[in-house]
Structures are given as C-alpha cells and as structure tokens.
Symmetry: C2
Subunit: 93 residues, 2 copies
C-alpha cells in the first residue's frame, strides 16, 4: 500500500481525525490528503462523519483482514527460520 496512505491509517488508529488534523502531519497539500482519503474510503478502510464543515474520518480496519489472511501461510516461513536459530543456539550451550 502507498506509504502516505499507510501513515494516514496509523494516525486514525489512534483516534478519529478531521482532514485538517491529518494534513498537519504531512508535507502534502490538503487536496492530496483528500485524494488519499477518497481512495481509502472507496477501499472501505475509512468512513466519514460530517459535523458542519468538518469531516471526521474513522478507521474501518476490517478489509485489512484480507491481507492478514493472505499472509497467514507465509508466517511459517520466517518462524521456521527463528526455530532453526533457536535450535542452533540450544546446541551451542
């Protein structure tokens, strides 16, 4: 995923935020942030609640579960390496 978008999600993980609050954390223009938020919205990763002019964005992490599931069978690959290391260290002593 695009790194700026990942950072936006990281911010929303802490708490809901308005567009302006998000934009403060970047050196991008506000419209650039709005564009990223649109992409995230269309991916179902955030939702908006409008209070007057302020649009407050909220994290909806569920779609990430898909990535998590894809990753699932790969996890053994790096845990195998760790196991091998552990075993090696055990044999060392």
């Amino acid at each position: 995923m695009e790194p700026n978008r990942r950072r936006i999600l990281d911010l929303l993980r802490v708490r809901d935020r308005t567009v302006g609050e998000i934009a403060e954390h970047f050196s991008l223009s506000q419209p650039a942030i709005s564009k990223h938020l649109r992409v995230l919205r269309e991916a179902g990763l955030v939702e908006v609640h409008k209070h007057a002019q302020q649009h407050r964005y909220h994290l909806r992490a569920e779609p990430l579960a898909e990535v998590d599931h894809w990753l699932e069978p790969y996890r053994q690959f790096w845990s195998e390496k760790l196991d091998a290391l552990e075993q090696y260290l055990d044999e060392e002593e």
Copy 2:
C-alpha cells in the same frame, strides 16, 4: 501488492519453480513473468538459482514480515468485533 505477483509468490510457496513453470499458470507472456520476477527479486522476495538455461526461483518470505508487523496493531480491530459478536451470542442463550 500487484495480484499477479501475489500469485507468483503463492506458487513458490509450494515449491521452487522455473520461469517456464510459473508462466504456465498465467495467461501473460513469458517476458511479463520475467518482469514480475525481477521486481520480486529486487524486493528480496525471491532468489534465483541457475541450472543451465533454467532459472529456478525460490521464495524468500522474510520481507513479508514487515507487512505482518505493520498489520499487528490493526488485528485487535477485527478481533474486537469478533469478541463483541461472541459476547452477544453468549448473552443470547
């Protein structure tokens, strides 16, 4: 990640494969596969071992651990939902 690339990794998870073997599973041209393999190679996700003309590709899943770690703090978001569902179901009986 690009879906074809994800599929290539899925194939390599099962066993090492040559370029031709991989290409069989796609309706893309063989050079297209080579290009994807190059991207994966540069990302450290695969490595090649050359036996004569055959280039055999091998999965190196470690860089995926980075994604896995990024995902880590998000997991609670969907497990929270599951917990809420469980609780609801418990109260039902």
